[in-house]
């Protein structure tokens, strides 16, 4: 097992540049919050597009599962992404 400095390692939604897309990998948030985000479409394995932001850059707007959702940067930085789709075992 590899050690990494930030919890879980890897890139987060907060680093995704506007116009770019990635696969959502993992939500590192308390149960309540991650459930709410999952209800809005932030399910692991889903494609998320960074669609824009409020004037000033925060909150950011993400396009996920057909809708536009605004999230603060600090929330987005807890959503880990990957460039590759998730494998079957990771999905379940």
């Amino acid at each position: 097992m590899q050690l990494s400095f930030n919890k879980g390692g890897g890139e987060t939604l907060a680093q995704l540049r506007t116009g770019d897309r990635a696969y959502l990998h993992r939500l590192d948030l308390p149960e309540e919050m991650s459930q709410r985000l999952m209800e809005l479409g932030f399910l692991p394995g889903t494609i998320v597009v960074a669609a824009g932001s409020a004037p000033g850059g925060d909150p950011r707007i993400f396009r996920v599962d057909g809708s536009d959702i605004a999230l603060r940067r600090d929330t987005a930085s807890r959503l880990y992404i990957s460039a590759e789709p998730l494998s079957e075992s990771e999905l379940t």
């Binding site: 709410r36 985000l37 932001s53 999230l71």
Partner: protein, 632 residues
């Protein structure tokens, strides 16, 4: 805020289970629930209280073909059957039959947005699994077709084992299928049909996979992205243009309220003066005529004049909300709100508090975090509600010249009004900061906001909301303000001296006013304003009616001059500005005190809030008047 509750005295009704079947209307936020509800029930709707629960929602009546009544209950929007906010809990409890007094609904109408079908079908899974007769309504059919998407309702119905209707609530297309379903539920005794066994899906990912599969089987083609929405968002959320447009929208609303409503207000005023005069000329001179003309017409009439202005404000907020702009405004405001320890979601209740604090405080139920919600409830009454407009407008018209500041766009009068709105906002922000650094200190919370596509607001929905407001306002004018006016007239005519009413200073009302005068004299208020401050503890606009009655009695002998003229003679500019400041801060509203008590479940919070706001009001007014005296 779309389910705007009743502001003040609208008599709550309860759903009578014995009177007929009832059908629950549920769906996620932004699926067009209220639009469909208004289509189905039109004017046959009422604001209702669920017995035992502190939530008000709309109940509408539909007649079935045998003439029996069916009740449609518009429930708060939900994203899932796992309740996370107060609002969602209500819907959840009603659907699972945990609301003892209302019982389980006889049927469910589940409304989903067809332009985002697969995500919305995730909610269909747990709702259909309840096993109740359910009609699945796919809304926004016109939008779906226009953007090149399609779905086969019959195939979907086969997949989910429930009837499906593809409709457009805003154009009315296909709504007859919903009506047909409603009639069916009343015509036959309802028993769940156990033929179709719905799979129980425990996890969200499992539900989403199911929704994707079902959508595919139903031949669902997702529509092209909403191009117009994206184009508009590039402008409305632009780093420079975005905040600028935000500011222009806000300024435009204020200027609109002031200038747009003026002709209508003049019309209403003429009508009241004319009818009062007519009434006076038909009645014999005496106590009764005086009571009717000075007490009732003078008191109630001076408040009714403000109806156009208040409706215009509700219209503007309604348009902003229904078009989808308000969600963007919340996103723009979030960073600023975060700095004062609130969040963007609180922006919407706070904006609706500009219309009325009562529905605003109810709208805070959508805020999941308890402390965020508490803070929002406590600062909401600082936002300049429409009940402050009458006294603001009156004082501004009497004491502020209308010098143009920015050409046609902004006059001094509108600028002063705007300043008062800003003042209320600043007080709210300061209070939020105070709360955050003391009793409500806590870690950051999450802000999540869905940005729905921009839509043209439904005229019917807007008009019904205005009608709601007009009825509530007039009801209040006909009850609270009428009672206060008549009571005041009586107190101003007693005790009789030598068979004649006393001069107003010597009357009971005058004595009460003069008793409080020493306390308020440093603020620049005389005893007449003192009476107004006492009567307006019930509701802010009552002060205008009170002054109307007092000046009416005072000038009964002469042709009574307009209220504005009397005020100019009676108040210094310093006192007038102090009075505006007083009303900006004071919590002069029984309804707000009652709703805060109800929502927070204790008298301690509203009592502390009342004392705090009263303290600010007194010292704010004191400083204003003393500064005027020092620098005039």
């Amino acid at each position: 805020m779309s389910d705007s509750g009743s502001c003040h005295g609208a008599a709550p009704q309860t759903v009578n289970r014995k009177a007929g079947h009832y059908i629950a209307l549920v769906g996620p936020p932004n699926a067009g629930k209220s639009t469909l509800f208004n289509r189905l029930t039109g004017l046959r709707q009422k604001v209702a209280n669920f017995p035992g629960v502190t939530v008000e929602h709309h109940v509408g009546r539909v007649r079935d073909e045998k003439g029996r009544d069916l009740f449609v209950v518009d429930l708060p929007g939900i994203y899932s059957m796992t309740p996370r906010s107060e609002d969602e809990k209500v819907t959840h409890d009603v659907l699972v039959g945990a609301n003892a007094s209302l019982g389980r609904p006889d049927a469910i109408i589940l409304i989903l947005d067809s332009t985002n079908l697969q995500r919305h079908l995730v909610l269909a899974a747990p709702v259909l699994a309840l096993g109740m007769p359910t009609l699945v309504v796919l809304n926004m059919a016109d939008d779906l077709a226009a953007r090149g998407g399609s779905v086969d309702p019959a195939a979907l119905a086969k997949e989910i084992g429930a009837p499906v209707a593809l409709i457009s609530a805003s154009t009315g297309e296909g709504v007859e299928r919903v009506t047909h379903f409603l009639r069916g539920t009343g015509a036959r005794p309802i028993s769940p049909e156990p033929k179709f066994v719905f799979p129980i899906l425990q996890t969200l990912p499992a539900r989403r996979r199911w929704a994707g599969r079902v959508g595919l089987q139903a031949g669902y083609t997702a529509p092209a992205p909403p191009e117009w929405t994206r184009r508009l968002d590039r402008v409305f959320l632009h780093p420079v243009a975005g905040p600028l447009i935000f500011l222009i929208v806000v300024l435009g609303v204020f200027q609109g309220i002031f200038t747009g409503a003026q002709p209508m207000m003049d019309g209403v005023e003429h009508l009241i003066t004319w009818s009062g005069g007519l009434l006076g000329s038909y009645l014999p001179e005496g106590v009764f005529r005086s009571l009717l003309v000075e007490g009732v017409w003078g008191g109630v009439g001076s408040v009714v004049v403000f109806l156009p202005q208040i409706l215009l404000l509700f219209l503007f907020i309604g348009i902003l909300e229904d078009s989808g702009y308000l969600a963007r405004a919340a996103v723009i405001a979030d960073r600023t709100m975060e700095r004062v320890g609130l969040q963007g979601k609180a922006f919407i209740p706070l904006l609706s508090a500009y219309a009325c604090a009562v529905p605003a405080i109810m709208a805070t139920r959508t805020i999941e975090d308890k402390r965020d919600r508490l803070a929002t409830v406590l600062i909401a009454p600082f936002m300049t509600c429409s009940a402050r407009l009458p006294i603001y407008t009156l004082l501004i018209a009497a004491f502020v010249p209308n010098t143009p500041l920015l050409g046609q766009f902004l006059g001094l009068q509108a600028a002063v009004l705007l300043g008062l709105y800003v003042l209320g906002f600043v007080a709210a922000v300061g209070t939020a900061l105070l709360l955050r650094s003391s009793v409500l200190r806590h870690a950051k919370t999450m802000f999540v906001m869905e940005l729905p596509p921009y839509r043209r607001p439904s005229v019917q929905t807007l008009l019904l909301r205005l009608l709601d407001r007009a009825v509530i306002f007039l009801q209040r004018a006909g009850t609270v303000i009428l009672l206060v006016s008549v009571g005041l007239w009586i107190l101003a005519h007693l005790p009789y001296e030598n068979g004649k009413p006393p001069a107003i200073e010597q009357s009971i009302a005058g004595r009460i006013g003069r008793a409080v005068e020493p306390v308020i004299l440093p603020l620049g208020f005389n005893w007449k304003i003192g009476i107004g401050l006492i009567t307006s503890l019930a509701a802010r606009e009552v002060i205008v009616g009170t002054l109307g009655t007092i000046y009416g009695i005072e000038n009964a002998e002469k042709d009574s001059p307009p209220l504005i003229e009397s005020l100019r003679k009676d108040l210094t500019p310093g006192g007038a500005y102090a009075l505006m400041i007083f009303f900006a801060f004071a919590m002069q509203c029984f309804s707000t005190v009652a709703i805060v008590r109800r929502e927070l479940g204790s008298w301690a919070w509203p009592a502390a809030q009342f004392a705090y706001m009263g303290f600010l009001a007194y010292f704010g007014a004191l400083v204003t008047n003393q500064m005027w005296l020092a620098f005039r």
